[in-house]
Symmetry: C2
Subunit: 359 residues, 2 copies
Amino acid sequence: MSISTLIDDPLGASTVRLSVETVLDDFLTAKVRHANRPELGYLSGLLRDFLSKGKRIRPLLCITGWQAVGGMGNPEPAFRVAACLEMFHAFALIHDDVMDDSDTRRGRPTIHRALASDHAAGRRPDQTERFGASAAVLLGDLAFVWSDELLHTAGLAPTQLRAVLPLITEMRTEVMLGQYLDLLATGDLTDDVESTLTVNRYKTAKYTIERPLQLGAAIAGASPEAIAAFTEYAIPLGEAFQLRDDLLGVYGDPQATGKSRLDDLRAGKNTTLTTLALRASDSAQAARLRSLIGNPLLDETGAADIRAMFEASAARETVEQMIDDRHRQALQALEGAPFTADAIATLTQIARMATARTS
Amino acid sequence: MSISTLIDDPLGASTVRLSVETVLDDFLTAKVRHANRPELGYLSGLLRDFLSKGKRIRPLLCITGWQAVGGMGNPEPAFRVAACLEMFHAFALIHDDVMDDSDTRRGRPTIHRALASDHAAGRRPDQTERFGASAAVLLGDLAFVWSDELLHTAGLAPTQLRAVLPLITEMRTEVMLGQYLDLLATGDLTDDVESTLTVNRYKTAKYTIERPLQLGAAIAGASPEAIAAFTEYAIPLGEAFQLRDDLLGVYGDPQATGKSRLDDLRAGKNTTLTTLALRASDSAQAARLRSLIGNPLLDETGAADIRAMFEASAARETVEQMIDDRHRQALQALEGAPFTADAIATLTQIARMATARTS
């Protein structure tokens, strides 16, 4: 389950989702229709299909932020900024999938695979693969261009723009930094808990939770205190959300999560769970963990071994404790935060569901 | 020689260059200094080094456009938009070099090669190469983010922004489209002159000449007539500039151009020269051309064969004629264009030097 399905419609989550999807679909349909070259129409169509799926987490949080500080009147500019966040996320995912050489995303072939298979005729397999990756980098770049166009054409007043643009720059820079830090750590299991938490903070807590809330709030003219209160709420919550994700990747019920409990372990993903276990291990245990985690052929027996070591080292328990601590910090941040009562109820609910979820 | 060295300082080209370089250097030095993570400081430093080279063609044309329609008063916003164009171009070049897997740029290792060699320790060669490419995609993305920040912080008034932003979106979209069309054509020598000219139009004429001139003019409050006059001037001139480039790649004096006369032919680059020659050839000649062009081992004897076929098919002569025609069209566009007399003199000089150059 994602944050998006956790919001129990108190501020009209289904309305928000529909409005944002309409903005995106209208925008890209116009791009397809008015493309001055058929190739541009084709690329716009690929992006429209890609964007028709997606959890809309950032748009929903953006609108929640807008409403939390009393956003009133015409919601269109806020919906458009929310759509800009979703388009920006498409850019980030398309580039991420090229970097990871992933095959599928949202249950369909990734963009570079789709571009490759559409253009295989007359190319050798290595040329086709290269074409797919290069064209996907370009289509990701186009999504960035159009995300910015959605922002420019959101109808924000100059004072709103002055509040929004610095946050946009921060958000964009932070996610690039998070991706770069993740890239640096890839392929090398670490026992440095702080560095793993730092990647989470940039990739998840700030990018997915803090900045979307603040952007919506900034459109509604939020005070510096309100902007700061969102940080106090979002950073621990975002970290807790990621920590829960790490646990579900290893202990979750595949029926509920929809993903294998072996994938993260086989991929050798650095998580707080793995770093804590490595840190608590003696050298023989650490060697055993390193030989199992990241092994693409890892089976259920090996995974059971890893889980036993996560428990023996108290890594699992510590992560549960970290989630509780962060959940509490997020709730504390809401006490006295200058948000509407409705918004505090929604943000409390989001915090509970994001940290206690089983899927 | 590039356009940048052709501008004989009538509007202060060296001042423009220095001002733009100061904006870029100050901006990135601040990024290095205030980076909240050392890794971000490292990336900012790489980008600053990359940007310390460069011909500044687009910034110079941007300021020429600003002055051509009577830009007066504080030139800072125009310099900052000019710097934003140069930063955007860094983004485009960094991604282009990843896509082409190029080794060098501006006489130094490309960004992905530099990133790879800085991070080879502890990685297998294939992992190092993959790291370099992925990290360069991210650094290119960061350059885009910061190009946009330069624009946001340029100090443009709301009316200036309304004039500038649609042109920025057009420019960004066009260069992505041009790159995509180029990618589609790569590895496949074509005899379709129109499609080769279309790639040139998007990649060179619009991106390098038309949009920078118009952006500068838009900052100065140019009329729709002036904006249209820049198109009339820039498109034929940009095409002529690229056609001259194509000829110099095959016939230029390596001492003057600084590049081998074999590179373009070995790379199998689609140029108007190659498409015209293919179109005029019988099937035996075409097969011979296709076997020579794109052969990475092509030697001077093979190149002489190709040149002989370019001449026998009148391809060379036709390209010279196309340059003359376009040069004339560009000059005609200046007649009666609503530009200052000084600017018309500069634009006339740019047109002459860009089409008649030998380097």
